[in-house]
Amino acid sequence: MKISLNDKEVSMAGESFSVRELLDLMKFTFPMIVVKVNGRLVRKEDYERVFVGDGDSVEAIHLISGG
């Protein structure tokens, strides 16, 4: 499948991945991340239940402590 991740096209072997699997595969390692799939915010507690497939657009940005 091909998805858009942060405006870059990414090819992955497989039909669909949960948001959690995708974040792990793409090495989003910090505990807090803002994730939007096709423009909709995905809550942290829904990462295992929301799936991403071919043609989807995903945006993921780390939230880093400090302020």
């Binding site: 910090f30 807090m32 803002v34 940005i61 780390h62 939230l63 880093i64 400090g66 302020g67």
Partner: protein, 203 residues
Amino acid sequence: MKSRLEKLKGICIGIAGCGGLGSNCAIALARAGIGHLVIADFDTVALENLDRQYYFLDQVGEKKVLALRENIRKVAPGIKVEAHALRLGPDEVLRIFKDCQVIIEAFDQAGQKLMLIETVTERFPDKFVVAGSGLAGYGGNNALRTRRLGNLFICGDETSEVSAAMPPLAPRVGIVANMQANQALEIILDDLRPDGGDDVWDE
């Protein structure tokens, strides 16, 4: 057409957290002419805050929101400042920021940052959030940037976490705080749309 200053006078901006990001951002927005600020923080000014936060030695021990209100009024006497000395959760965010067009996320902890972003995105889709993420240490000017996801803007380098080895230092904290203030002005003065339909972002 109203002048820019007239337009800013009619705007309300919320500031969630009054530490390094929030205190410096509030002062920049006040100097730029924003008419109404809603500031919130539960904490008191400590001596070790003075290396980067917009407070003074004689304010140590005071509630940050009260000290910041005093400092804001010293540079912008005509401004309306609503100060809330409390710890923000989703209910408080919905209550105190309901009249704000833009909310500045200026918390320290990443979990709090996510709470604010989730709450505003889901419950206040017509408002903007301008968040800070990644500002520790020094140098790396060109790693600091802004990214937009619809009604959310995130300023910072998205990587440098505060630690004993990499403390937050005044220049970089101040840069990100001022990037947030600058982004808020652009949202207001250029009438950006929260749905991102006007996004002509140049990375």
